[in-house]
Symmetry: C2
Subunit: 393 residues, 2 copies
């Protein structure tokens, strides 16, 4: 258990009827708002109209950046920053899932500097984030937790890079979490989002450091929540209880609380970012494919106790069996949940990654920020990462 | 599950070595600091000297308000507000447990108004809290959660009143949580603090409303944490793991997270506030005596499922028994934990309340803010409250 500092200032409006406060929350930051969103699903569900109406009723001037990609690109960040400068934007309004909110965070930062937006992610340059425009978000997908954290992940197709970075200036000021806005999320996207939440929890739960029991109970509770409600939300898309539990779990899985006393690096996310940087697959699906293989690869005398704890406390495996047996069953239960219950495809070829062409360069990039040895639950070299990719074929 | 708004801006520095940042955190708020503390235990453990040194090294001017009482009194609030006005204090530094921090919050508010401090608690007056001085806290007791919430409870011995009130302006700006500062807390005070944390959790957990599964997993995890670590901390006062888990649980039990989707009123706290207002007993001890009796009094077909869930998920009672049997065993397990494991006395006479003289007036005051019918897990009239007091004799 290491010392830590925790602060999360995001104001969350949670529930059916909270969007009525959108105009009031926006106008405290100024007069000119840039609305950012993705491919237009917010128009299909009528959310776009509701948002426009709220902005108009607040007497604010509206500008728009539509078309933010899944795995959002640096070109969208640049375009957003350009719009902010041109129109003297006071506040950003991100309406969508994690991709839209992540992109908007870096627009907020890039709007306040003269240098190119990718410099923030360039390992050689990495200028500090010293200012950012305020961000308000309206969440439409329970997955990344971007609505209540300070990070964003951006892709650069020119270099096949996908990189994340945190800054306390990038916390949204206010986020609206209305579970009914996720009623139209497809079973597949619900599954991918749930896999993403689950992976965020695994990344901090699996540690050989001495971690805080209290925090483990929180993580295990969120894991059980995902295991319980993801299939319900897939089967009954308008089940409020299921959507609400998944949505609030998505925020708390990654808002600083459960990771705060854990020093270690994440493992599956760096490996997956390379997959989706090169192949543009859905992030949560990539994580689902990697996670059980990674956990199996981590199995050792040192890691067994935590994997067994996971099996007992999350999947209800009988605690009286030998520890190794429990751990093996835990990994089976995880795979069963991801591939049978959530129905996600279980191998890379099934999502279109049919050969090993890029494994070497992807593995190189995954461990690069750590000097070649990713200090996770089991430390991973480039060769380890290649082996885990191969286990997914 | 009702709609809610959640925001908790408190910055927490948690761990052994974080107090080194005290000076930097303080001086961002100005030059003149009022240090508030209680009976002097902070001098015994050397904390007073460390704090003074930090303030001096930050080049700040120091003023002091010692002697804040357990069950802090309105006279201390008045004196603190007077000192703030006289010396143009910029920031308050509360060093102690919940009593000191609660009192300091209301000093912070009272320093910014001309009216009497008790007006904030007068049901007829209740002026809004429109300004407050910034507060920094250094916690020395895991119990009330005042270090990360926006409320404070103040006693008025002239009227035998003990009243609490919340305001978002009263969140501490920064709180230092160093578990080693609780190493000298006696087994008895550790037990009382743990009973207080546990009671905060019970107050929001026990509801017949439809509550969020996710939040129940958090509450049950915190309850298990208290059950696991309170006896360890009593037996091994310098067990860092035990002290750290209790300390972080004290904050999260009452910082807004687990209560946010629950509409109902608290029950044991209003009843206990009357006990400690009249008899000045230790708050956590009063709660411990009341809690199992209250839960037993609440038992009905409607409340059984939640009491049984508590027994299964917190005390590990076998889920296959009839629900009523599980619920009865849960109440026994709670009483066993409070009175046998924590060693707290189990009746009011054992803490010096030997007759029923004040039960009528205390019960009247407990339900007064709710118009005579306290809308808790089981709605309680004045007669119900008297009956619960009697069960504790």
């Amino acid at each position: 258990m290491q010392d830590f500092t925790f602060q999360n200032p995001v104001k969350i409006h949670f529930g059916h009827d909270k969007l009525a406060k959108l105009g009031d929350e926006l106008k405290q930051f100024g007069q000119r708002v840039l609305l950012t969103y993705g491919g237009g699903s917010i128009k299909k569900i009528g959310l776009y109209d509701r948002v426009i109406k709220a902005v108009r009723e607040a007497g604010m001037e509206l500008f728009e950046l539509p078309g933010i990609e899944p795995n959002p690109r640096i070109s969208s960040v640049r375009e957003g920053a350009r719009l902010c400068k041109e129109h003297h934007i006071d506040v950003l309004l991100a309406v969508g899932g994690g991709s839209t909110i992540d992109c908007t965070k870096w627009i907020a930062a890039a709007a306040c500097v003269e240098h190119d937006a990718w410099d923030f992610f360039d390992y050689e340059k990495r200028p500090p984030v010293e200012r950012a425009l305020p961000i308000v978000s309206v969440l439409t997908l329970a997955a990344t937790g971007s609505e209540m954290d300070s990070g964003g992940v951006i892709s650069n197709p020119d270099t096949n890079d996908k990189r994340g970075r945190l800054s306390p200036l990038l916390f949204p000021k206010v986020s609206f979490l209305d579970p009914t806005l996720t009623y139209t999320v497809s079973p597949y996207q619900t599954a991918c989002g749930s896999a993403d939440i689950f992976s965020h929890l695994m990344e901090v739960y699996f540690t050989t450091d001495h971690s805080m029991y209290l925090i483990d109970t929180f993580i295990e509770g969120m894991m059980r929540t995902v295991v319980r409600y993801a299939p319900i939300a897939m089967r009954e898309p308008e089940n409020y209880e299921a959507r609400a539990n998944l949505m609030w779990a998505s925020s708390w899985a990654i808002n600083g609380l459960v990771g705060c006393d854990k020093p270690q690096a994440w493992s599956c996310h760096p490996m997956e970012h390379e997959l989706s940087a090169v192949y543009d697959i859905t992030h949560g699906h990539g994580l689902a494919i990697l996670s059980p293989r990674w956990l199996e690869y981590c199995m050792s005398n040192e890691t067994l106790p935590k994997i067994a704890q996971f099996g007992i406390n999350v999947f209800g495996i009988e605690a009286t069996m030998p520890q190794k047996e429990i751990a093996l069953r835990a990994i089976d239960a995880l795979a069963h949940f991801l591939f049978d219950t959530l129905g996600l495809q279980r191998t890379l070829p099934e999502v279109g990654i049919v050969d090993e062409t890029h494994f070497d360069s992807m593995a190189f990039k995954a461990v690069l920020p750590y000097g070649g040895n990713l200090p996770g639950f089991r430390p991973l070299t480039k060769e380890d990462v290649i082996e885990i990719y191969r286990m997914c074929m």
